[in-house]
């Protein structure tokens, strides 16, 4: 029973992308590299059109990158890797169920394709999601349809769930039901979730790691707490002549009389002392929300300043 606490080895990774690029006529995914540790929930956050869905389709082997390597559950992914796909559950709003047929019909259909189908679990999900098995797909609301699709994926008990905006358009109750089931999935340390959203609030609590992308580029990828610890909003008082000291990741956001509001992307313990010695008096160093961090990262990235 040796538990390794060092950096994860390939075996501890559910998936990794290395220098992945894909060019379309009007969109380019550029040199994307990040990895997901097994047993964690990873959030993929980006504005609409950032490349989230393309990234997920690459992980599913549905899209082939022009360059770079992709590993999923210890295997290089390609369209021929049917065995790895048994262990992957992919959700996207683009997927369609067969309208005239019932939820039960779909359950039987998926069961016939996947030996890992767990019927008892499927029944529990029906109950917890408040779905009726005889109901035809065409009569379902948006929320019920999303839950029905997730049921069909979850009941296969895949090791790796790739969920493209699964809570998009859900009411708060349905969203709570879905998040509850996702958290149950990772009670098993061998199962992993990659979850995309343009809404940071949806996933702020549940994610272990977060990857920000914008316009086909990686902006940042780190564990959630590191983001929250490194980004700060600083309020300080300084004379008119005060110049923002050159500290990595520090920038002046606004000025109100003597008050300066700054954002900082790389907090260190020495920074308060460095600011004081520049002639400023610190009023407060506050944490930023993940949403504020996301917007700031994207804006800084777009200005080509990076960090």
């Amino acid at each position: 029973m040796n538990t390794v606490l060092a950096t994860p080895t390939d075996n501890q990774l559910a998936a990794s992308l290395s220098h992945v690029s894909k060019t379309y006529k009007h969109f380019k995914l550029q040199d994307l590299s990040f990895s997901l540790e097994r047993g964690t929930v990873a959030g993929l956050i980006g504005p609409n059109g950032a490349g989230k869905s393309t990234t997920m389709r690459i992980l599913m082997g549905l899209v082939h990158p022009n360059s770079g390597t992709v590993q999923v559950l210890g295997q290089p992914i390609s369209s021929s890797q049917a065995s790895a796909k048994q262990d992957i559950g992919y959700y996207s709003e683009d997927m369609r169920l067969y309208k005239p047929e019932s939820i039960l019909w779909h359950m039987q259909f998926v069961r016939s394709l996947y030996p890992s189908w767990d019927d008892a679990y499927a029944r529990e999900l029906l109950d917890r999601f408040g779905l009726i098995e005889q109901q035809a797909i065409k009569g379902l609301s948006h929320g019920q349809r999303v839950k029905a699709m997730l049921l069909l994926i979850l009941a296969r008990r895949p090791k790796f769930l790739i969920l493209d905006e699964p809570t998009n358009g859900l009411d708060p109750v349905a969203k709570h039901e879905v998040l509850t089931e996702l958290m149950r999935v990772v009670e098993d340390p061998d199962r992993t979730i990659l979850y995309s959203s343009h809404n940071t609030a949806d996933i702020e609590k549940i994610c272990d790691s977060i990857t920000f992308i914008d316009r086909g580029r990686l902006i940042a990828s780190d564990n959630r707490d590191s983001f929250l610890e490194q980004w700060k909003r600083i309020k300080l008082h300084a004379p008119e002549t005060w110049q923002t000291p050159s500290i990595r990741g520090l920038r002046l956001e606004s000025t109100f009389h003597q008050l300066r509001i700054l954002s900082l992307s790389h907090f260190r313990d020495e920074i308060p002392a460095e600011l004081q010695s520049s002639g400023a008096t610190i009023e407060a160093i506050d944490p930023m929300s993940l949403e504020e961090i996301f917007v700031s990262s994207v804006m800084r990235g777009r200005e080509g300043e990076g960090s």
Binding site: M1, G39, T40, V41, H176, L179, T180, M183, R184, V186, E187, D188, P189, A201, E204, K205, I206, C207, D208, N223, R224, D225, L228, E229, D286, P287, S289
Partner: protein
Amino acid sequence: MTIHSWITISLSDPLPLYLQVIEQVKRRVAVGDLKPGTELPSIRQLASQLQVSVITIKRAYLELERDGVIVTRQGKGSVVAERPGLQVAMQERELKDRLTQAADLGLLLGKSKTEMQRRMAEAYEQSQKGKP
């Protein structure tokens, strides 16, 4: 699982999530809801119950263990430490924290030490009589 759990996690609280967990476990020990030897949920179970990330709970448990509040045995899960005086220590800590907060506020508002002592005595008497 439930939005009404024994630990309440809020994103609007400026305190980081793992510190919210630590604070609330310590409070439960202070008031006696969590007694020495009581089993705690596993890291992944609690993460699932509170709908927070596994890393958040892992970090909270590691710090609680370092502070001597809980004991984790590999493969057996975590229990509240069976240490004499743990509850009193948690009570003292909470009392000290709140007094410090009040003192800081007094200082910020320019109140004198005697003024603060008088106000404390007043507040104490009011509590004794029941709610003001």
